[in-house]
């Protein structure tokens, strides 16, 4: 773990403390959760995998479009 100092406005501190109270935690925990949420670790993807997803996206209606229409929980009633 690294200790760091940052500058926050009075209003930001109030909101941070309010979030910590709601979550039953502390300022550091709230800030760590926010960083994990908004700055997730970046993973480089293999161009082949990206190309496969691009193709899937282009052919989505053809390959997946009606896949779930027989499932009462997952279908979209068009």
């Amino acid at each position: 773990m690294h200790r760091t100092n940052i500058y926050l406005t009075d209003e930001q501190v109030e909101r941070l403390d309010a979030a910590a109270t709601r979550n039953g935690t502390n300022r550091s925990s709230v800030l760590r959760d926010m960083i994990d949420e908004h700055l997730p670790p970046h993973q480089e993807l293999d161009p082949e995998v990206v190309a496969a997803f691009v193709e899937l996206g282009e052919r989505w209606d053809e390959l997946v479009g009606d896949m779930f229409q027989d499932d009462p929980d997952l279908r979209i009633e068009r």
């Binding site: 949420e37 908004h38 997730p40 670790p41 970046h42 993973q43 993807l45 293999d46 082949e48 995998v49 990206v50 190309a51 496969a52 997803f53 691009v54 193709e55 899937l56 996206g57 052919r59 989505w60 209606d61 390959l63 997946v64 479009g65 896949m67 779930f68 009462p72 929980d73 997952l74 279908r75 979209i76 009633e77 068009r78």
Partner: protein
Amino acid sequence: MIIFDDHLAQAVLIGHRRVSPEHGPAATTWSFHYRLIRALTDTSVAGSLSRASPQRMLHVASSPLDHGLHVVDPRLLTTAAATLAIEHRLNLLTAELLAAAQVHRAEVVLTERNVGRRWPGLFEELGLTLTVV
């Protein structure tokens, strides 16, 4: 938070659809994420792709947060989803989607084919934001 359907969620996974920090994070519901995983698990889908990499695609989709896609925790939506389902006669996917938008005050972005017949009216009635791309 912006909630995407399964079709758009895969664009988020490969970085082809981004959400600005002030509108983020990019998310999808558990039901839409399940549909994506099921599609990738189906050999008839992955096997039809010219550059099929089914295992690697499944690996990416199975670790969405590593690729910038949040899956909204369905446990936080249970009560809201059940209430909406009863009030509006909704299935699980629809109730979860509306509950996610309601609880997280999130905008929902869907492809045209993934818009249910009654959804535009429901979104308007509930004061929720729906964008169709």
